[in-house]
């Protein structure tokens, strides 16, 4: 997962392990900054991420934080801590009414899309039902005809047998 995430930061597979270990794990980064005499802050890493890649990066903050089974990610990641630090500032610059209106429009669009999907599914189910019923009806009709044919054939044989018996009785009486 880490490799996948880092792939989005930069599209090359060179040395992601070093980068994760040194830059994305808070404890390590803090110690390394301390040793190398570099001023440490959560936000400093933020400015280095290209804005167009920010959604991707933020999406894997959550993934790394909650789904990570890798021992490297059991600790808090630098990105998560960075996000926690800047979250209040980010929230304060969001235009709430505009944001809510946009979300309502999105919501309505989702409802319409769901309705269309439901109608499509119902139409598909109905068509399938009709096809299967038609097949079953056709089979039943065929079986009925077969049965009738069989019954008609047996009756004819019985009549012939009775007539044969009658004729043979008459012959016996004459003699």
């Amino acid at each position: 997962m880490v490799h996948y995430c880092l792939y989005h930061i930069k599209q090359t597979t060179a040395s992601p392990l070093n980068l994760v270990y040194a830059q994305l794990i808070s404890q390590h980064r803090k110690k390394l900054c301390d040793i190398q005499g570099i001023e440490y802050s959560y936000e400093s890493i933020f400015s280095e991420i290209d804005p167009p890649l920010l959604p991707e990066v933020l999406s894997f903050v959550a993934l790394a934080q909650f789904r990570g089974k890798n021992s490297l990610l059991q600790t808090q990641t630098e990105l998560f801590r960075m996000l926690v630090t800047v979250a209040p500032d980010l929230s304060s610059i969001v235009n709430r009414p505009v944001s809510l209106k946009e979300r309502i429009v999105d919501n309505e669009a989702q409802v319409i899309a769901l309705g269309i999907e439901r109608e499509q599914k119902v139409a598909d189910i109905n068509a399938k039902y009709e096809r299967e019923v038609a097949v079953l009806n056709a089979k039943r009709l065929e079986m009925k005809r077969e049965l009738e044919a069989l019954q008609t054939g047996e009756k004819t044989k019985d009549k012939e047998a009775q007539e044969d018996e009658k004729l043979s009785g008459k012959k016996r009486n004459r003699s």
């Binding site: 597979t13 830059q23 190398q36």
Partner: protein, 221 residues
């Protein structure tokens, strides 16, 4: 011996270890000039000046071993030795100038040096900084042996910065060395027995080990 060497175009390996070549080294090297030698071993030969190597062209050379001489001068520039894959200079006294000469080779894009042995050479922090600077973009050297030198915290810090420069993501990613996989070093006791320095050196050692291990685990395309 010189005429023999000059008339042996198919000679590819020479091992004259444990002979006294303090006087004869220059003649030997000159005799090899332009030849097809690829393995030159002159261990324990009392050589003090190896700068003659810089005056000749050994186009096929892959391995040079000058272990346990007393070399104090390896010449100003080794950058022509791009075919060299292994250089053993353990137990000499190459010092800062020697590091500078090797640095010229390590900086070259077409260098093929994968193993460099510089144990017990009196290399201090300055020499190590020169070497680490030259290795920043080196993608060939994966084994470096530097035991028994006089490194202190600054020297180890230079090594750590080489392996992982945390000043930015870009520097960690593109300006750190991800090729060096074996770094054999020991930790000299700090000159100043300051507890803070001791702690720092321990941390440096720990991180150097971690990052060389990560380089080993790394998949390189």
């Amino acid at each position: 011996m010189t005429p023999f060497l000059q008339n042996s175009p198919k000679l590819i390996k020479i091992d004259l270890s444990q002979n006294n070549l303090s006087e004869g080294f220059e003649s030997l090297v000159n005799a090899l000039d332009g030849g097809s030698i690829n393995d030159l071993t002159l261990d324990h030969c009392s050589i003090t000046d190896a700068s003659f190597l810089g005056n000749v062209t050994l186009t096929c050379i892959k391995k040079i071993s000058l272990w346990n001489n007393n070399i104090q001068n390896i010449g100003g520039d080794m950058s022509s030795y791009t075919t060299l894959e292994s250089l053993n200079l353990d137990k000499n006294r190459i010092g800062v100038d020697g590091c500078r000469a090797i640095a010229h080779l390590l900086q070259k894009e077409d260098t093929n040096l994968t193993t460099l042995r510089l144990e017990y050479n009196g290399i201090g922090d300055e020499g190590m900084e020169i070497l680490t600077n030259s290795l920043k973009h080196n993608k060939k050297l994966n084994r470096l042996y530097i035991k028994g030198n006089c490194l202190q915290a600054m020297g180890y810090l230079a090594i750590l910065k080489l392996l992982v420069d945390v000043s930015s993501i870009e520097n960690t990613y593109n300006n750190s060395n991800h090729t060096l996989k074996t770094l054999d070093f020991d930790m000299n006791p700090p000159v100043r027995s300051d507890e803070r320095i001791v702690k720092k050196m321990k941390a440096l050692k720990w991180f150097i080990t971690v990052f060389t291990t990560l380089n080993k685990q790394q998949h390189h395309p």
